[in-house]
């Protein structure tokens, strides 16, 4: 008699199972810690002489650049949870940039700019809702039309303002032109006291960062970056992550919005006004996109400039998919996709981005290992091939070309989709046209 039953499953939990059993926040924090660990490992051990990947400045900028993507992604979340695909996010974001600048300039307060940006985006959402919900137009088509319409509207409006001779309340635009607004500053910025030295207090994280301990200093540096020159707008944006989660999953309204995206007929039979909640979802989506636009104007460039959204609405959609239509996942996606944009700005010589290639190679190797464990030969081959290519690229060059950081978010999305598309689950009735009683 054998002491071990050969058929019984191995009861000792694997590393991955233990990880999966952790609560979500702990899981995300572990992932973030692993991410920083790999970055600092690459910086220390790799041959690239750089610290730009984990500098406080980079971390702070990453947070700022993640916000528009995060807000657009949350916008997409509300819309798609209500069953309406919103590729008009980009256009609604453009409305947000213009209205955000107009509000800030005309009311002389960034808070007014924030509210105006939100309202402007919500108007775009309303238009999308009228077309898709009331008239049953295909969601993609309506989104494309909105993306064509909104740049024209913004340009038209700035043209009118820059030609108006009055320079008082609704038409204040002094110093602005047809493609650019007057200066529109942002919300107040703070340094967190005691941790990052706000109000002349102790700068704990800064001290740890300066101590130059492997990994620990890097974590401290990243946290210090998060808490230095932190705009209230950024705080608001990240606070919207738990707020959205509670709103959508813990309230009656959220349940009704979600049933629009999963089984609208079932909701209808229970007496839920599907059209109404679809409207609510899409308008909230526009409002979020509008906030994203206002953020770009007020916090990233301090001015409205034509074309400054740079496709962030589409990256927000990508973050939405990456995050599997969940708020925390969207947040992670936005940080990931915002990061290369920061490097494009801060890493002038391309050494940091070059080091990032090694990080990507490591990540792809991890995917390969995982696929081999899962006995998925195709995935393992693809991941292995890509990992080898990236590794070779890293080994053969000294600096990364300047177009690489701008391309990385999009390539990352494609890679993630290639390996994860089977595991993602979008709302069941997403993108379908719903007609009452049909």
């Amino acid at each position: 008699m054998s002491p071990v039953d050969p058929v019984a499953p191995d009861l000792k939990p694997t590393l991955f199972e233990r990880y999966a059993a952790l609560s979500a926040p702990v899981r995300w924090m572990t992932s973030a810690a692993i991410g920083i660990f790999v970055l600092s490992l690459v910086q220390t051990v790799g041959r690239d002489d750089t610290t730009v990947l984990t500098e406080p400045g980079t971390a702070g900028a990453m947070l700022r650049f993640a916000v528009p993507i995060l807000l657009a992604g949350l916008g997409g979340l509300f819309s798609e949870r209500a069953g309406v695909v919103n590729i008009g996010l980009e256009g609604m974001m453009i409305l947000g940039t213009w209205f955000g600048a107009w509000g800030t300039v005309n009311f002389g307060s960034p808070w007014a700019g924030l509210v105006c940006g939100l309202v402007g985006g919500a108007l775009g959402g309303l238009l999308h809702a009228i077309a898709t919900v009331s008239f049953g137009v295909d969601h993609i088509i309506s989104g494309v039309a909105i993306n064509i319409l909104t740049p024209g509207l913004a340009r038209f409006a700035s043209d009118r303002l820059s030609e108006a001779d009055r320079n008082s309340f609704p038409t204040k635009w002094e110093g602005g032109s047809i493609t650019q607004s007057p200066r529109a500053g942002g919300l107040p910025k703070i340094n967190v006291p005691y941790l990052a030295g706000g109000n002349d207090t102790y700068n704990l994280l800064g001290e740890i960062d300066d101590a130059n301990i492997f990994f620990v200093s890097d974590v401290a540096g990243v946290l210090e970056g998060f808490m230095t020159q932190l705009s209230l707008f950024t705080v608001i944006a990240f606070a919207l992550v738990p707020v959205s989660a509670v709103l959508l999953w813990k309230t009656r309204m959220g349940l009704r919005i979600r049933i629009c995206g999963e089984r609208p007929e079932a909701g209808e039979s229970l007496g839920v006004n599907i059209y109404l909640y679809k409207y609510v979802g899409v308008i909230m989506s526009g409002a979020m996109a509008g906030l994203a636009g206002a953020f770009i104007v007020m916090e990233l460039s301090n001015v409205y400039r034509e074309g400054q959204t740079q496709g962030r609405g589409f990256i927000g959609l990508a973050a939405l998919i990456f995050g599997n239509w969940r708020p925390v996942g969207i947040m992670l996606g936005s940080l990931l996709f915002g990061y290369p944009f920061v490097l494009a700005l801060r890493d002038g010589d391309g050494v940091g981005t070059h080091a990032l290639l090694l990080v990507i190679a490591i990540a792809l190797t991890a995917v390969m290992a995982w696929s081999i464990r899962q006995a998925n030969r195709t995935d393992a081959t693809i991941a292995g091939g890509l990992a080898a290519t990236v590794l070779l690229w890293w080994a053969m060059t000294d600096v990364a070309p300047d177009w690489l950081p701008n391309t990385m978010p999009y390539a990352t999305v494609l890679l993630v989709l290639v390996f994860m598309s089977q595991r993602l689950r979008m709302p069941a009735a997403d993108g379908q046209i719903y007609r009452k009683g049909e």
Partner: protein, 378 residues
């Protein structure tokens, strides 16, 4: 009650006309609010359009838009959203211009043919990538083509344009200009047979002929070939098509390859008869406008032609508004957006009226059928 056929025709034609009417109304409102006279603006636009030179402008503007719309329509026919026409045509134009500039002194016809072939192949390959991702990995083509658009422009072209630049020091560096032999002759002579001499250095692009050819081929392909039928069947009802033995995955690949191949031709009027190279200021945005025109024209080659001419007219009008100052040229962009949005809404409304008509006539027919046998018995 009106005759059903007349009713159907009125409904079909009425939708786009009411959409344009609505767009004009709404744009007039915009103009009035902004303190311009809509009448003066429209009179300026129409007066300008009646000039022969503007007519040439309109055709030149409409040519790439038409090809782009056909590319989008091929996808739409199969319920595929090729949002990536934008990236496909830019990448195709870039490679075609680079190859065209590299080979100097080829025989004229061969040179142009080579450029066209490269553009079609590159466009098809890039769209095929999105198709392959959809077929093998189940990635939605809307997302993948949007990402591929950014990768094409911000990555591949941004990288290679500096490697292959003609003059790296120039602020607007681009590929080597294409030799005389690789340029498409203009159609001025053809047009002047019917009219007077075209002045002001306007040249009617020869790519117009390619566009017309693409339109005719598209019509024949969709309506007269077996595979075109399979396309439409898969678009109408994928389940039924599959049951009928049409392989869905292969159809997706075909549709993407064809759509991308046509998309590759979009940049040709710019490469072959205007700019003769690809540089930083190469015309962008034709892909998204093409999608809008495909919607306006209901994927029908003639409808698309009308839509492309309408957009061409609007584009050509923005200049005259600037010159006369009767309205801000941006109104043109707004009109485009409103036309598209109101057109899709009007089409949807008409579709529903038609469905109701059909249901009613079917009900009437069933009623007749159930009463007729009794009459026969009696």
């Amino acid at each position: 009650m009106t005759h059903p056929t007349i009713r159907r025709i009125v409904l079909t034609v009425g939708a786009p006309i009411s959409a344009v009417f609505f767009a004009v109304l709404l744009s007039s409102l915009f103009l009035l609010i902004s303190g311009s006279s809509p009448f003066q603006a429209y009179i300026d636009m129409i007066e300008n359009a009646s000039r022969l030179e503007t007519f040439v402008d309109i055709l030149n503007e409409a040519t790439p838009l038409y090809i782009s719309a056909i590319a989008a329509a091929i996808g739409f026919r199969m319920n595929l959203f090729n949002i990536g026409v934008e990236g496909q045509y830019l990448l195709a134009a870039f490679f075609a211009a680079a190859v065209g500039g590299y080979f100097a002194g080829l025989p004229p016809v061969l040179h142009v043919t080579l450029i066209l072939i490269v553009s079609v192949l590159v466009g098809a390959a890039y769209a095929g990538l999105a198709g392959a991702l959809k077929v093998t990995r189940g990635i939605n083509e809307v997302i993948s083509t949007i990402m591929l658009n950014f990768i094409a422009v911000g990555g591949i072209i941004a990288w290679l344009i500096r490697e292959w630049a003609d003059d790296t020091g120039a602020t607007n560096s681009g590929t080597t200009p294409i030799d005389e032999s690789g340029r498409m002759p203009s159609l001025n002579g053809l047009l002047e047979v019917f009219t007077r001499e075209i002045s002001k250095g306007r040249e009617l692009t020869g790519v117009l002929l390619i566009a017309i050819l693409v339109g005719i081929t598209y019509h024949l392909f969709i309506n007269r070939t077996r595979i075109g039928f399979d396309f439409r069947a898969s678009g109408y009802n994928p389940m039924a098509a599959r049951a009928g033995g049409i392989p869905p995955k292969r159809m997706v690949m075909y549709a993407m390859l064809l759509s991308g191949g046509v998309a590759g031709l979009v940049g040709m009027s710019e490469v072959l008869s205007q700019r003769y190279k690809y540089d930083q200021s190469f015309i962008q945005g034709l892909g998204f406008n093409g999608i809008a025109i495909a919607l306006l024209g209901r994927n029908n080659p003639v409808g698309i032609a009308i839509g492309a001419l309408l957009f061409g007219f609007l584009n050509a009008s923005s200049g005259i508004l600037q010159i006369t100052g009767s309205a801000t040229p941006e109104i043109v962009q707004i009109m485009k957006g409103i036309i598209v949005l109101s057109a899709v809404i009007a089409y949807e409304a008409v579709r529903r009226v038609k469905l109701r008509d059909e249901a009613r006539s079917a009900a009437e027919a069933t009623e007749r059928m159930s009463t007729e046998p009794e009459e026969a018995l009696a």
